[in-house]
């Protein structure tokens, strides 16, 4: 299939767009008024994302709140009964006599634990079959908290692996793979700030503190036009605003780390704050055992505050600071971490026009230092800094038509390596020059309901990237594919001069057809472009992996994804939800590496990189039971993810390291009674691909493995399967005096990898470590590495008051 299967000139596209918009505008009748407002949680004042507004007299006019809890519905003059609802909350019904624009802010009470969920909310109105979005998974923080977790620590990124279309190379590997995309192709956002390394402790935990997170949404396809910059997926993590009714303290104590979050009002109903901190103590443990400075620890601080200026304007400020420290010994240090900050201004320009302007800063850096003595030391650091300004607008034309448009401007500063070394008293600075780049995008998209069954969203994002001087552009020789290329010429550029620039029109479109009240079909196409690249050639990424811009040699990666899905609600109360989605994805300019590539501190890095194409396709089946004493889901993905790179696998297609033919996940939660509940999850995946040698030879006494077919990833590791269990015990709800306890606490007992399977993370081949003479045959061995090779029990205590 041609990569320009759908190719538009941006001008023509905008023309069509404006025409439709004009038609939609003229279709608007007279005497129409707008109801708009914000939906919040009554208990803590948090805005509700994706809550539903249903108009009894006009069922097709429903709306859903946006990422800031805002909604807008336009209706003809008249009397209306409007239902406001959200999963886990009691619904509120309001009768409104509409004869002018109205602001209706609603606060929903949390569903009391004693009530049976089935009786309260008819979720069919907010079910996936009714919802316009496809290829999107929302993970409720309450669901995440129920999952049995490694070491009992609730983790957002680890929870994603239970979703269809998401895979992971193995335990301990940082990041996640979506629909055959690599880890660096996911846009990970924490309150709109890109996160360049989402892992703590080399991948065992993620940087998102669950106590501070409000909403997690993963876009696997049909990526809306407001997102760009990565070709695989978007993980949009939104933080809580902080309780603006009363001060609340949440916390937990586990095996690996402890958490504490404090939130409360600063100015009642106007301003609130949230401070959440985590600190691990595994270093204390190892210090205890080894009595020295060797150890690994991390901490992070998540902050958020907001201020309501008036009914129409609200400011938010959020920040994150996290650090991992790895002390090797007294004279060797290694630390890494992210910091980010987001300032947002929400404004309701009119009852139909909502705007948000965000200013974002994000930085990832690491430092390594060795200090043998004063005359022999070495320090090395690397960083990526990113500054983003992003105005976004939503224009609610009427309940059948909504336009979103906005701009994004992002400035990058790459610091590949700042290295200063002293050898025998002589100091050498071999830092590499910084690299600079500017990425800009503009987008517009229109959502349109045609009749009661059809709904479209079509839009375009136009992105532009400029790799800026000062800098040096290298020109490399051509050599045998797969070999190191050497720079044969170079050219200097002055500050602000463009070294290389690229642009891409990125059409995004999706459609939904409502077959029945309970079932719909959805389809989409999206093109995405990625201008900054994640450089990592090991099975799992590590903290030293760097990001590098597109240059005159490294071209931007472009992805096209087609999806088609069927969504339906099943059961009398729509307690089941089923979906089947297929996807086909092609990518260009995927990066791979020559054998023996030097990825760190190499100013000729480009000479070690290879470029190729990718393709991935699959079927995702998902069945969820949402209500009752037993809830849970089954997710099954059948897929293939491949690359074709000159110089690897004889230039033929080969499966990616994270390709999994079958990926089955089952989760079941059982509420035994008010005190006890239990959750089990089971995972089965096909073993990931690997390469085996078939021959061996000696080079100066060193045994070298050899594959005569020159293949890559033509063998498979043994299948992966695992069962985890957890048991949750709620603390007493009534105190000794028979009154309701103000505090709420619970214990979580869990077992990870219950039957202790040694799942293979990798199989490697080596000669034995024994010393042999040249007259003895060298003994070769195959080894299986299991990152979690046993059953891991854990206990954690969590509280809230």
């Amino acid at each position: 299939m041609s990569k320009y299967f759908i190719s538009f000139s941006p001008g023509a596209y905008c023309g069509i767009f404006l025409l439709v918009l004009a038609a939609a505008a003229t279709a608007m009748g007279q005497n129409k008024f707008t109801i708009s407002g914000t939906m919040k949680d009554k208990s803590n004042g948090e805005t509700l994302i994706g809550a539903s507004i249903y108009v009894k007299q006009s069922p097709s006019s429903g709306a859903v709140t946006n990422a800031y809890g805002f909604y807008s519905i336009t209706l003809p003059q008249g009397l209306y009964t409007i239902e406001y609802s959200y999963i886990g909350y009691e619904k509120i019904v309001k009768d409104i006599d509409l004869d002018g624009n109205a602001t209706v802010n609603v606060e929903l009470p949390v569903l009391s634990r004693v009530l049976d969920e089935v009786k309260i909310v008819d979720e069919s109105r907010i079910s996936t079959s009714r919802n316009f979005e496809m290829s999107v998974n929302k993970l409720d923080i309450k669901t995440i908290q129920k999952l049995p977790a490694l070491m009992g620590e609730v983790d957002i990124v680890k929870s994603l692996q239970f979703l269809p279309g998401v895979s992971q190379v193995g335990e301990g590997s940082s990041g996640f793979n979506v629909r055959g995309g690599s880890v660096g192709q996911n846009l990970v956002l924490l309150d709109e700030a890109p996160v360049y390394n989402s892992s703590h402790m080399l991948g065992f935990f993620s940087v998102f503190n669950p106590d501070a997170v409000k909403d997690v949404k993963l876009y696997k396809g049909a990526i809306p036009a407001e997102y760009g910059g990565r070709i695989s997926s978007v993980l949009d993590v939104r933080l809580k605003e902080g309780n603006n009714k009363k001060t609340e303290v949440d916390g937990g104590v586990g095996f690996i780390f402890s958490r504490l979050a404090v939130q409360g009002p600063l100015v009642k109903d106007k301003s609130s704050y949230l401070i959440a901190v985590r600190r691990s103590y595994i270093d204390g443990l190892s210090t205890l055992l080894t009595s020295n400075n060797f150890g690994l620890n991390f901490y992070d601080i998540t902050l958020k505050t907001n201020y309501t200026l008036n009914q129409k304007n609200r400011l938010y400020l959020s920040g994150f600071f996290g650090r991992d420290n790895f002390g090797l010994s007294d004279d060797a240090k290694f630390n890494w971490g992210n910091k980010s900050g987001t300032l947002r201004w929400n404004t309701v320009l009119s009852s139909k026009l909502f705007a948000n302007v965000s200013a974002v800063f994000s930085n990832y850096n690491y430092n390594l230092g060795f200090n043998q003595d004063e005359n022999n030391k070495y320090s090395w650091s690397s960083a990526i800094s990113n500054y983003v300004v992003k105005p976004d607008f939503s224009y609610f034309i009427n309940s059948n038509s909504e336009v979103k448009f906005g701009l994004e401007s992002s400035y990058y500063q790459f610091n590949p390596s700042k290295t200063v070394g002293t050898t025998n008293g002589e100091t050498v600075d071999s830092s590499q020059p910084k690299k600079y780049a500017l990425e800009m995008a503009g987008y517009i998209s229109h959502r349109l309901k045609v009749g009661s069954k059809l709904e479209f969203q079509y839009g375009i994002r136009f992105s532009y990237f400029n790799y800026l001087g000062p800098g040096t552009a290298y020109i490399y020789n051509d050599t045998i594919a797969g070999r190191k290329r050497t720079a044969i010429a170079q050219r200097q550029y002055k500050s602000g001069q463009s070294i290389a620039s690229y642009s891409n029109p990125e059409p995004r479109m999706s459609a939904k057809y409502q077959i029945t009240d309970q079932a719909s079909i959805k389809a989409s196409f999206s093109r995405t472009a990625q201008y900054v690249h994640f450089i990592s050639n090991t099975s799992a990424s590590n903290p030293l992996n760097i990001w590098t811009p597109s240059t005159n040699n490294i071209k931007p990666a472009v992805g096209n994804q087609y999806t088609l899905g069927y969504f339906t609600d099943l059961g009398q109360h729509a307690e089941y939800e089923f979906s089947a989605e297929t996807f086909y994805r092609t990518t260009t300019n995927e990066i791979d590496y020559i054998n023996g590539a030097e990825l760190l501190n190499n100013d000729r890095l480009e000479g070690d990189l290879l470029s190729g194409n990718g393709r991935a396709y699959g079927l995702e089946l998902y069945l969820q039971k949402k209500k009752g004493v037993i809830t849970g889901w089954v997710s099954y993905t059948l897929s293939r993810s491949e690359l074709k790179v000159d110089g690897i696998n004889n230039g033929k297609w080969y499966p990616t390291r994270f390709d999994q033919t079958h990926n089955l996940k089952v989760i079941a939660s059982y509420t035994i009674n008010q005190k006890w509940s239990t959750t089990a999850d089971f995972a089965f995946t096909t073993g990931t691909p690997t390469t085996y040698p078939n021959q061996r030879y000696l080079s100066q006494g060193i045994l070298i493995p050899y594959n005569t077919t020159n293949a890559r990833n033509d063998a498979r590791l043994t299948p992966y399967h695992r069962l985890d269990l957890s048991l949750r015990m709620e603390g007493k709800t009534i105190n000794k005096k028979g009154l309701a306890r103000k505090n709420h606490d619970f214990w979580v007992f869990s077992i990870y990898n219950t039957y202790g399977r040694k799942n293979a993370f990798s199989t490697y081949f080596s000669q034995s470590t024994d010393r042999v003479t040249s007259y003895q045959p060298i003994q070769t061995q195959a080894h299986r590495v299991s990152i979690i090779g046993s059953m891991v029990p854990s206990v954690s205590y969590n509280f809230k008051f």
């Binding site: 301990g172 050898t423 030097e598 040698p693 050899y706 005569t708 003895q776 045959p777």
Partner: protein, 311 residues
């Protein structure tokens, strides 16, 4: 430095993970396919005034742990310099290692700095060639004892440290080779190469003393029964250090060898494991469609110094 650093902390992390009973590394049985053997030319010769060997063997099935590599008999092996001198390597029919040897006359050497040499191997009607240029090498100035107090799970260690200075001018590449009590240290984990005085082309160390990971990179790397590192030196050990000047492509070749052959296993698989790929070669078959060959040809200039350590 960087790679050494990663490797050091990966090794330590392995021990930590064993401590926490997380990761495990088990020897397993894997069936790998069989294939037709290919010619392996192991041709690392130098300017030392001693018999020079080029080893010709055939590759074996990966798990053939019973037999030495089959020797190649009946090949014609010569090295020619750019001035037309021909050095004939004669087959040693008693050799179990496939050696073809050149015996210098008294004082004669093979390998003059600045000259280039071409290897030619004719075997079963096919001609294989490779070229190498001899580069300069600095002298080893001294050897000293380096003591490190035990830290973490490491015991106290004694190592040998050599001192030498890379000559000014970018682009010198070396292979540091250590001998302990007369035995060449040739584990994959003991390969130490240098790009000027540093460990990578981007490191910028040029014309200075070799950096400490290189100076200490000539020691034995052995583990005890519990897989804990053993002190490289014990009282009375003798160490001989050689610096071999190598070609840039040989430096890259050894980087590939390290990535394929030095597998530490355990949790380090997360961070240091590049995919299995064939190590490149500079041996070329005159017939493009002819049989494949592996191996490497390099002619080195060598400097060396030894010392017996008492402490």
């Amino acid at each position: 430095m960087i790679l050494t650093a990663i490797r050091t902390w990966a090794r330590q992390l392995c021990m930590l993970s064993i401590l926490l009973l997380w990761a495990c590394d088990d020897e397993i049985t894997v069936k790998t396919s069989s294939a037709d053997p290919i010619l392996n030319i192991d041709a690392w010769i130098n300017n030392k005034s001693e018999t020079q060997h080029i080893y010709l063997t055939l590759s074996q099935d990966y798990f053939d742990n019973k037999n030495l590599p089959p020797v190649v008999s009946g090949a014609l092996v010569t090295v020619t310099d750019n001035e037309g001198r021909v050095y004939e390597f004669a087959e040693d029919r008693t050799s179990v290692t496939g050696a073809y040897s050149w015996y210098p006359a008294k004082g004669e050497v093979l390998g003059v700095v600045g000259r280039s040499y071409t290897l030619m191997v004719i075997y079963k009607g096919e001609t294989f060639t490779a070229t190498s240029e001899v580069h300069r090498v600095p002298p080893v100035d001294s050897l000293t004892l380096s003591y490190r107090e035990g830290q973490g799970m490491m015991d106290d260690t004694y190592s040998a440290e050599f001192w030498a200075t890379d000559p000014a001018g970018k682009g010198d590449t070396y292979w540091m080779r250590g001998y302990k009590n007369g035995k060449l240290l040739n584990k994959a984990s003991e390969i130490t190469t240098a790009y000027d005085a540093g460990v990578s082309s981007g490191s910028g160390f040029d014309g200075v003393t070799f950096i400490s990971p290189i100076r200490l990179g000539v020691n034995a790397n052995d583990l005890d029964e519990d897989d804990r590192p053993v002190s490289p030196l014990v009282n009375g050990d003798s160490i001989y250090v050689e610096i071999h000047s190598i070609n840039l492509s040989a430096y890259n070749y050894l980087a590939e060898v390290v990535s394929q052959a030095d597998r530490m296993g355990g949790i380090s698989e997360l961070f240091t494991s590049a995919p299995l790929a064939n190590v490149s070669t500079n041996i070329v078959n005159a017939n493009k469609n002819g049989s494949a060959a592996v191996g490497y040809f390099n002619v080195a200039a060598v400097s060396g110094l030894g010392k017996k350590f008492y402490f």
